[in-house]
């Protein structure tokens, strides 16, 4: 956004200005990248976006809303493969997810969202909704495995997805999403064994 753009962004009347929205979210994102979450103040965002504080507050009442706004623009789809066997699919899933989180600023954004959710109900709602979506998506790995007869009879696909997601979060929140992690391979192997043991088509 250049200065002249900013200057021309005065008002479009009694409607929300898309140019301002973009300017504000751009400012928020660049501030996050440059100075971290602590640098994401409403003042700084307004200043950098050449927006008035009133405007920022009108559309993003708290800094958590800004975080969510940036996050929503950025959140990416994860390509899920369910070609089997389960262990391979699970490893693919974890590696794809960790790879996504390793891209700046996606992983940090999600960490911050989880952290913010511990204080802020709005952030909690946004985070919960996203988590549910991700869990549902993850569940497809297990429904596909079930269709292939790989799953043990006791396995509930939703519960299995929750276990996988919980482990992924745990790694994110404790800074263990580095690539080529041998522990990750062992963990996935162990997990798959628990879900497939006793199934007829296991590891077939």
């Amino acid at each position: 956004m250049t200065d002249s753009e900013a200057r021309s962004r005065a008002s479009i009347g009694a409607r929300r200005s898309p140019a301002t929205e973009k300017a504000v979210l751009d400012a928020a994102e660049s501030l996050l990248a440059e100075t971290g979450y602590s640098g994401l103040s409403m003042d700084a965002v307004a200043r950098r976006a050449r927006a008035s504080k009133a405007t920022v507050y009108r559309w993003w009442p708290t800094r958590a809303h800004l975080l969510i706004g940036v996050y929503d623009r950025r959140k990416a789809q994860l390509a899920m493969r369910q070609s089997g066997p389960l262990e391979t699919d699970l490893l693919d899933f974890f590696e794809a997810l960790f790879g996504l989180w390793r891209q700046k600023p996606l992983g940090d954004l999600f960490r911050l969202l989880i952290a913010e959710a511990q204080f802020n109900p709005d952030a909690m709602a946004a985070m919960t909704q996203y988590a549910a979506e991700r869990t549902r998506q993850t569940e497809t790995i297990f429904t596909a495995a079930a269709a292939r007869g790989e799953l043990a009879p006791h396995v509930d696909t939703a519960a299995a997805a929750e276990v996988a997601v919980a482990l992924a979060w745990n790694h994110l929140l404790t800074n263990r999403i580095a690539p080529e992690d041998e522990d990750l391979r062992a963990m996935v192997s162990h997990l798959a064994a628990g879900f497939t043991c006793g199934a007829k088509g296991a590891a077939a």
Copy 2:
């Protein structure tokens, strides 16, 4: 007595004052309980503890250090029973842990510690250390089950403990630690099944 308290708080010379340390941590804890994390400002703590800001900063350089300080005083031991069978032990574990977290301010304290760890390396270190300790403790459930021959041959006790802890965290961070949760019972049952399936002594 106020007088002797006051006099003993006056000064003990060029050594750290234990009375002040207690006063500051008490103040921090009560502020956390009353006004939440956002109310835990260095100013407010110093004011309530009748300590000078310099003293607070001398020993607790950031608000995260205060959080860790309060948390360290409060962190409780969890009574672990390994009488078997595994499913019962696991349910006991989750219910005891969630019960602990439901006590004010323990659960919030740990949530805040995890959240703070996402920005603050000191908090991350404290949190990581505590998490490791808790995971090791949790592992005993599984080693006992293994000794009883309940565990499936593929199960690694450390990995199993990590799964259990990750699930517990996930529930805490998404506000699902309410008592008498039927989902919890189902989850534990599902988990135990994965760990025991195929073992000779399973559900014996």
Copy 3:
């Protein structure tokens, strides 16, 4: 530049609040009267004026500016009589000036201004400007005396005024502005003699 002009014309923002200005100067003045210069802290002024520190700092960047602000509101005109003879006029001048300085808080205000000027260039500028004004005013005593033919031929009116003002300051700074001072009368008599000796109309 057209660009900056355009931007500056786009919006002028909110205006300075006169009520706040008065409240701050009132607070500063009352604090000076009650607790002296050392009690004139920015914090205390903001507190008493129910103004935010940012506001105080916005308009009075240092406590010297507050001092100057209070002083500017208070500085009084001195009624000068030039009815002659010079000795009477001079005595009138010193007694009127010392009388003014004896009124709380004027004398202290000026002493503080002179003291502050020894560290602070802003205070020095304000003080210098005021001193020049006062000296010019004082000079009228001597120009009137010259018009009446009372002055010795060697006397430069500006230099004479400087001598008078320097003596007045000296008395202020060494705490000798008490009323009915016999020394003052002697000093003035001596001074007048030096300025008039040898003049045709002297003491006529």
Copy 4:
């Protein structure tokens, strides 16, 4: 003062340590030179002198006492010549005095002493005493002139000295002690004329 000197300066028993006194005054003086009066804090002096704050406070209860202490070590004698005529002697006096004040840190020291005296009674006492001494010294110029018959009959030597000193102060406090000042020459000439006019031996 080297570090080892400082370390060996532990104590000489139940009497005041001259080494410490020197170290403290040296520290105060160098701080004044480097950072001005505002940098002359008790903490900084103690730190630089490797003295304890208690020791500094024991012997110099306020920072004004430090100022006076430094000033007393530094104050210099002024060589006074009374060879006549008065105008030359006066010009010599002013030029010698201004030359002294122009030497770092003497002029600033005296300005600060006068400023400090406006708040602090101790500083006022020290300053008053020094001023009296200087005035008495200055008076010798006029008594010598009187002995030579240069003085007009109305002139009181004490009053004349006060006028001279007041003018000198005025120049110091308003930053007009630069060398080779033509105004100074005019002022002195004017002053001398006032003191000598009508005397038999004037300009003899």
